[in-house]
């Protein structure tokens, strides 16, 4: 649906995007990930024909952004970082205006306005002035204007930025629900968001493509190992973590045991092994047969945050592996 080849965008003094290539299949949700200033917005602006590329090509639905911009624009719905709203217009009036700009007319236009109002849960503010809407509603009206002409491709620039947690969840659900009908590219610097919404990730940093893969592969890729988090407690209270560690290391298939928080009175270990080599049953049995309690046993999936920091060259915080999944649970 989208094909970008060797795309470069130079401004007067800086190169915002440097020879990046990627492609997006029809119906996918792709997360465009990168720190601030990485070139996400620039790339999206090239895809929406707002900015012309300095070199390289970008095609949307088979149309080149430079050669046939009008064909591309017809097939794209775009939500910029700040929703492009006119404060003096009422919601419905605004959606009608955008619909007309995108080439809708007559009964068709009315039907679409009605549809997007329901789809984006803004029917109750239909007659309110946009300038009076709350941030969450503004974002939803922004999404509504992006899908009004039922475009093949949706490009959303930081759709959840500046929203409160409840609004973030609502917006994410809304985006997910749109996935069936549209190919979606969304940019963000919030990692859990990508893990939750997207199937595919494109990571860029300082204008360069760092990685492009499915979320699952990316997580697995940085470590060929599987790791399990094990929390153990002694029956009578006193239990030395060294002894537990030694016992766990003797379980067949275990490659490495890390003590997560030796200063805490909880005993949490990260047990690493090669994929498919370790049976959780063996591990659990080992703990129980030693006379200890097994309080917790779960997979410590590496969060995308670590992958991201690793790929963009920053140091991952040490506590991150256990901290992130706990927050989500």
């Amino acid at each position: 649906m989208i094909a970008v080849k060797e795309l470069t965008k130079r401004y007067a003094r800086t190169t915002a995007v440097d020879r990046i290539s990627f492609s997006v299949e029809k119906g996918q949700i792709v997360g465009f990930l990168g720190p601030n200033g990485a070139g996400k917005t620039t790339t999206m602006r090239v895809l929406t024909c707002f900015l012309p590329p300095s070199s390289g090509t970008a095609t949307v639905a088979g149309f080149d952004v430079l050669e046939q911009p009008r064909e591309v624009k017809r097939r794209i719905g775009y939500l910029p970082e700040t929703p492009p709203l006119y404060p003096e217009m009422a919601t419905r009036e605004y959606l009608r205006f955008v619909g007309k700009l995108k080439g809708l007319a007559g009964a068709d236009l009315e039907k679409r306005v009605q549809y997007v109002c329901e789809r984006c849960f803004i029917a109750d503010v239909k007659d309110k002035l946009l300038g009076k809407l709350s941030k969450g509603y503004r974002q939803r009206v922004g999404l509504a204007q992006a899908i009004i002409h039922n475009p093949d491709v949706l490009i959303l620039d930081e759709p959840t930025a500046g929203l409160d947690p409840k609004q973030i969840n609502e917006t994410r659900d809304l985006i997910k629900s749109l996935a069936g009908d549209h190919t979606i590219v969304l940019s963000t610097h919030i990692l859990p968001e990508v893990e939750q919404i997207c199937e595919q990730v494109i990571i860029i940093n300082k204008g360069k493509l760092v990685a492009t893969d499915s979320v699952r592969n990316l997580q697995a890729r940085t470590r060929g190992v599987e790791s399990l988090l094990v929390e153990v407690a002694g029956r009578d209270g006193a239990l030395l973590h060294e002894s537990v560690q030694q016992r766990l290391e003797r379980v067949p298939g275990v490659a490495h045991v890390l003590c997560k928080n030796p200063n805490d009175h909880r005993l949490v270990f990260e047990v690493q092994s090669e994929k498919g080599q370790l049976s959780r049953g063996d591990l659990a049995r080992a703990v129980v047969e030693a006379g200890w309690d097994l309080n917790e046993l779960r997979a410590a999936s590496m969060s995308l945050e670590e992958v991201f920091l690793e790929l963009t060259g920053s140091e991952a915080p040490q506590e991150a592996p256990s901290a992130i999944p706990e927050v989500q649970a």
Partner: protein, 255 residues
């Protein structure tokens, strides 16, 4: 064509939903009303004096009231034009709504023409207020209406030209005040530039004076459609809008 109308409707909406249009209309009506009262009072006094002296010089509503008043309108209009055009593009650039327009399947020129037409319609509303006052002249006297129509055409053309320049300047910045101030400066300069002919008679002075928008209005105010003035205004409008289109295009390559 449909797209031009869509944009134009939206712009008119923002003029008339916000207080901008009403403020401009009120100010214009007040100022013009004062001018009208002034000149009418002068005219009536002159008439009385002549009657007392027993003279009977011909008095003409068109020549003595309508024509000088319309010349005044063309200058007053000069002051209102920056206030009409300054927001056209500067505001869209500041709020980011320009991204919506630029990523919609419409041509730049349709956006520009839509905005310019909306500005022209608001300007036309302003000068139509003068018809209210002139109506009284028709009620109590018998002025010729044909030169008045020609003068209105001239005002529209002159306004169209200055509005095109204002639209162009509005694309250069995201700050409305800068756009307004620059447009005002250019409008003022285009008015006073003909004064060079007062002390200079070189070719350069003539060329400079040619660019004065006000001198080209004189023939229209007299009720004459002079093709050379018509051409001046039309080419001016074309150049202004053309420059706007170029500026919008360069916006994409620069920013």
């Amino acid at each position: 064509m449909r797209n031009i109308w869509t944009i134009c409707r939206k712009e008119l909406g923002s003029y008339f939903v916000s207080p901008i249009a009403y403020l401009l209309l009120t100010m214009f009506a007040l100022i013009f009303g004062f001018f009208f009262w002034n000149i009418l009072g002068f005219f009536v006094n002159e008439g009385m004096e002549m009657m007392m002296r027993g003279e009977s010089a011909p008095m003409n509503l068109n020549e003595q009231i309508i024509r000088p008043l319309l010349s005044n309108v063309s200058v007053i209009g000069l002051f209102f034009i920056p206030m009409i055009t300054m927001r056209l593009f500067a505001e869209e650039k500041r709020t980011g709504t320009i991204e919506l327009l630029a990523t919609s399947p419409i041509r730049d020129i349709e956006i520009i023409l839509g905005k310019w037409f909306a500005a022209l319609i608001l300007y036309a509303c302003l000068i139509l207020f003068t018809a209210l006052n002139f109506g009284f002249l028709f009620l109590y006297g018998k002025p010729d209406w044909k030169p008045l129509l020609v003068a209105y055409l001239g005002l529209l053309l002159q306004g169209g030209l200055l509005l095109a320049i204002g639209t162009f300047i509005s694309t250069l910045t995201r700050n409305q005040i800068i756009a307004g101030a620059a447009t005002f400066g250019v409008c003022l300069l285009l008015w006073v530039i003909e004064w060079v002919t007062g002390f200079e008679s070189s070719t350069w002075a003539t060329v400079l004076a040619y660019f004065s928008v006000i001198t080209h209005f004189d023939s229209f105010a007299r009720g004459v459609i002079d093709s050379k003035d018509l051409v001046f205004y039309l080419t001016g409008i074309f150049l202004g809008l053309f420059a706007t289109a170029r500026s919008m295009e360069s916006l994409r390559w620069r920013s």
